[in-house]
């Protein structure tokens, strides 16, 4: 049995609820989808027991009916597990920070805050994310249906000075 199958086996054994949603997409990639409640246990299991200790990226997504956040974790830079977390609320989406384990996650989480309006519990205060300082409140460009016209309307059509 290859590493990747072993990893899948282990994961399903520990969390039987994941059995349906876990699949091997390629010889080095596992994809799994979990609800928000399961995030911390699965994340910690992957990190401590299966040694997925490299954070590749965090992708936030607006899937119209729900928000989801994908954590791409790698193990010794070979196997990559994409952990898709479905967020609990569409209106007030939130996640918990993982900056305690990965200080580098800071920027990815800030990106979620700025571009998608996902609240990150426990994220330290700091400079803004990629958006400029004078960016209007409540505008989240990566949300579906958001277009740059909205911005123009809000600024009264005048380009930002």
């Amino acid at each position: 049995m290859s590493d990747i199958e072993k990893t899948k086996e282990n994961l399903i054994q520990k969390f039987p609820a994941l059995a349906e949603k876990t699949q091997i997409t390629r010889e080095t990639r596992i994809w799994t989808e979990i609800p928000f409640e399961l995030f911390l246990p699965v994340f910690n299991y992957l990190l401590t027991d299966l040694h997925f200790n490299v954070l590749c990226a965090i992708t936030g997504m607006d899937e119209v009916t729900q928000f989801s956040v994908i954590y791409h974790l790698a193990k010794e830079n070979q196997l990559v597990v994409s952990l898709k977390v479905i967020l609990a609320s569409k209106e007030k989406p939130f996640i918990n920070t993982i900056t305690d384990t990965f200080p580098a996650a800071d920027i990815y989480e800030r990106e979620l805050v700025d571009l998608l309006g996902i609240h990150v519990n426990g994220l330290k205060e700091g400079n803004r994310y990629p958006l400029p300082d004078n960016w209007p409140q409540g505008e989240y460009p990566l949300r579906k249906g958001w277009t740059a016209d909205r911005l123009k309307k809000k600024e009264g059509g005048a380009p930002n000075a």
């Binding site: 958006l131 400029p132 300082d133 004078n134 960016w135 460009p141 740059a148 911005l151 380009p159 930002n160």
Partner: protein
């Protein structure tokens, strides 16, 4: 008076010091600007020196589509430059926004913010194109 004016114009066309400002470009134009200063192309032949301080510069080389964040800083840098000063838009992005036109965070082109003296299209503008533009700009200065 005519002679003095002629001498001053001569001085100006023979010694354009440039300040390079990346206004949100992809780097390609920036490295091509540097490449234009290195041995193969050597802009110093035309008296061009790359300067760090806006106070010393005559020409502002801008590359990039001007992001919202950088727009007012660009203006501030321009204000700090002593007269006479020129702005040159290097690369397609600086000319019109290029591929980034329509992105929510850009102003699409330097001429939306500052008066531009010369446009250098190209993605990126190759060092030769930059030299060509410098020569064209200097020639137009000489004539005016």
């Amino acid at each position: 008076m005519g002679l003095i004016k002629k001498i001053v114009t001569w001085g100006r066309t023979k010694s354009p010091w440039v300040l390079h400002f990346n206004t949100g470009a992809c780097n390609a134009c920036d490295i091509e600007i540097i490449a234009a200063l290195t041995p193969r192309y050597d802009l110093e032949r035309f008296g061009v020196l790359l300067k760090g301080s806006p106070r010393h510069a005559d020409v502002l080389l801008c590359s990039g589509p001007v992001t919202r964040q950088i727009g007012d800083r660009l203006k501030r840098i321009y204000d700090q430059m002593p007269e006479p000063k020129f702005v040159v838009a290097v690369g397609t992005c600086a000319c019109s926004g290029g591929v980034f036109k329509g992105c929510y965070n850009i102003e699409s082109g330097i001429d939306q913010v500052l008066p531009v003296a010369a446009y250098i299209p190209g993605c990126p503008a190759s060092p030769k194109a930059i030299i060509d533009a410098v020569v064209k700009l200097l020639k137009s200065l000489e004539e005016s």
